[in-house]
Amino acid sequence: MSQSNYPTDDEIWQLARQQGLDPFPIRFEAVPATILYEFAAYLIPGRMSHWSYGKAFHAMKTRYDYGLNKLYEMVINADPAYAFLLDSNSELENTFVRAHVMGHVDFFKHNVHFSQTQRDMLDVVSRHAERVRQYQFEQGVEVVERFLDAALSIQEHVAVPHPPLLSVKRPKGPPPSGGSWSDLWQPQTTEPKHLLKVREDESDVLQFIIDLSDELEEWQRDVVAMVRDEMIYFWPQMRTKIMNEGWASLWHIELMRAMELTDADVINFARLHSSVTAPIPYQINPYAMGYRIFRDIWESQGKESAFLVRTVDDDVSFLRNYLTEPLVDELHLYVFGPEQDKIVVKSRRWELVRDRLIKEVFHGGLPIIEVVDGDFHRRGELYLIHRHEGTDLDLPYAERTLEHVHLLWGRPVHLETISAQKKIVLSFDGKAHGRATV
């Protein structure tokens, strides 16, 4: 056999199903590097225009041009799913990538944290992009850009709907946006606003602003709602990065093994696999870690268990439950961090590594910010609190972010946090910053 018989898109999909995966139908498209990197920068094709995506695109593309990094694929959580491959890849590479994509799409379809994502998001973001263009036309490009800067600065601070399995009682609020247009045409609430200005632990800062900012014009409210919709779509991916890559890596191995490959291709494939799972300095490689954990579950508890984990866990519970001492040793994980003015290696003890890693992936590695009061001082000021869990905020960054929040809220804004063991409140009133120790 001088040449492997590479399976077609459909054959790989059928193969995946025979092996137990259940992906959405997938449409593959081979695209040039510029396009693949563009999609990766925007995270989804057709998304609204903003300079920050251009900045990301430039940075990623430059790294690619210098040979510092190579994206193999970009897969969209949608039904049918879309997967973009690099047109310059070899057939073997793209076969490997197709196999990998089967794992991702199965994960999108079955992991419970994705159960409420909008599977028609490609259409949704195109409509968003169209509306933003319209607003740029009506309001001016710079006005819209300035406003988007603000909305994007706090885009992560939304409440992602809980998956049905883990359903808990939520404070009464508007339902998770059902498709972007719906918020627009239906008045959100008939209750008097002032009654709503204090909500218990409101973690959906964007929704709070959409509902209760007295200053926003309709187009601005719509922009915030669009940013929020898109972030809610992306949150499940942020909280399952290790699992998702691990599952896909597990399955590219399983599916490639089930194909008839030449000896040369087997070796080349092994090389590909080890390049994606190679250690990255000062970080963890989610492919390697996710793969090893899933493989371990499969071997010690059986294939069924691996499928169950893929369905119910997210990265936090995945690491908490399945990152064992032998795996920490085998993956050569270690904790490092600041000590006086140096960054030093602190420990290789497995519980420390595990707990530190859980902290790192918890809430996407972002601080938790909640609204305490939308009528602070009885003057309609916004009071936010940072739920401090051991690490301080970057205060200069927080101050600049408050300027953005002020633009969204239109009245003075405050943020309570802890810095160097002291409770402090940062404030911005549109002109000056304040910093008070409480």
């Binding site: 057709g46 300079w51 995506y53 900045k55 973001v125 706090i154 000062y282 690490t391 301080d392």
Partner: protein, 384 residues
């Protein structure tokens, strides 16, 4: 599936947003020009050198953790052991507001801040976009003969209009003579000779800068640096606008004399100040060497304005008023540390002449303002 464009060449969003980002970097750099042009390192560097400028306005601010606080997890091949040092935490930059990003981020990931790279030539280009050459005198240009090419050579090809008839006839005669015939014969293309020309660069666009500096005892290091910085950019600017720029350096305390460029910036002497001595010398230099009919003239004077006497101030003003009709711009830059009004400034306060520009330089950023004031960009005056 709606919203899809299979023709990838139509996909331009990434490029468009990237261009917008680059534009924002440029705008941010432009806002920082007053600081950038006074960077000490620039004055000694060659134009191709690239400087790195942190741009805080273009960071994507968000609520995030202190990047230098808290532990993280890494992965290696097993070679690191407890206590190994991976890097150094940069000291906080001056002022909390600047954050710690100003230090070198090193190899530890997670710290990213935006730095724009710009060459000094590009920086100069950006600065010069805002500057112009006021009061250019068209008559000066027409007075200068402008033969920019000369017929100097002969070639076998050329335009018929430039046919050298005499040489062509000669070639025709010679060719036939070689074949043993006399007189003109049938013409061949090979017989023809053409006059060709060479371009002769003609310096038709001359400017002279008379740089005058007070070197009396009161002019300290800061004042020297400001004069130097200003002169650096002024000369660079004029050299991009004119094909040749001559500079006359004059220093003065109670007496004035012409010096070399090096001396101009380095000399420091004690003693009193008579500004009129410099203006008188400037006047003489203009009369003897740089007739206003042929030169664009830019005298500029740096002083702290601490002049000897009112009588000398009056004498200074007289010379100044005599020179103003001759010059393009006469700039007086008063470099001060602290707020006071000098006697010279008071004396100059009575002069209202569009070509006389006065600026006060109290800190580095004023250099930019001064440049813009001396060389305002007024489209009516600027040469295309």
């Amino acid at each position: 599936m709606a919203g899809f464009v299979p023709d990838w060449t139509l996909q331009r969003k990434g490029a468009t947003d990237q261009a917008r980002h680059q534009q924002k970097i440029r705008d941010a750099l432009k806002q920082r020009l007053p600081d950038l042009i006074t960077e000490d390192s620039i004055l000694t560097a060659d134009g191709g050198r690239v400087i790195r400028v942190p741009i805080r306005n273009l960071e994507e601010y968000k609520f995030r953790f202190d990047p230098w606080q808290g532990d993280r997890v890494g992965q290696d091949q097993g070679e690191l052991t407890q206590g190994d040092i991976l890097g150094q935490i940069p000291a906080p930059a001056s002022g909390d507001k600047a954050g710690r990003g100003a230090g070198a981020p090193g190899e530890i990931p997670g710290i990213d801040y935006l730095e724009a790279e710009i060459s000094i030539d590009d920086l100069a280009g950006m600065l010069f976009e805002d500057l112009g050459l006021p009061y250019l005198k068209p008559k000066m240009l027409s007075n200068i003969p402008r033969p920019t090419f000369q017929f100097k050579d002969i070639s076998k090809r050329g335009l018929m209009g430039n046919l050298d008839k005499r040489r062509s006839l000669r070639e025709n005669l010679l060719r036939h003579a070689r074949q043993g015939k006399t007189g003109l014969g049938p013409w061949q293309p090979d017989d023809l000779r053409f006059k060709t020309w060479v371009n002769v660069p003609q310096e038709d666009n001359n400017a002279v800068v008379i740089a005058m500096r007070d070197i009396s005892g009161s002019m300290g290091d800061f004042k020297k640096l400001m004069a130097r910085t200003f002169a650096f950019w002024m000369l660079r600017f004029l050299r991009t606008k004119y094909e040749s720029v001559e500079v006359v350096f004059i220093v003065h305390h109670t007496q004035a004399r012409e010096v070399t460029e090096e001396e101009f910036f380095q000399l420091g002497e004690s003693g009193g100040t008579k500004v009129s001595s410099a203006y008188e010398l400037c006047w003489e230099v203009l009369q003897n060497r740089y007739p206003a009919s042929q030169w664009n003239i830019y005298p500029v004077h740096f002083s702290d304005g601490d002049n000897w006497s009112d009588a000398d101030n009056r004498r200074t003003v007289e010379f100044l008023e005599a020179m103003l009709p001759l010059v393009n711009v006469f700039g007086y830059a008063e470099i001060r540390e602290g707020g006071y009004t000098s006697t010279l400034m008071t004396a100059f306060g009575t002069i209202r002449h569009p070509r006389f520009q006065v600026v006060t330089i109290g800190n580095k950023r004023d250099v930019y303002t001064a440049l813009k004031k001396f060389f305002p960009r007024s489209p009516g005056d600027e040469r295309a």
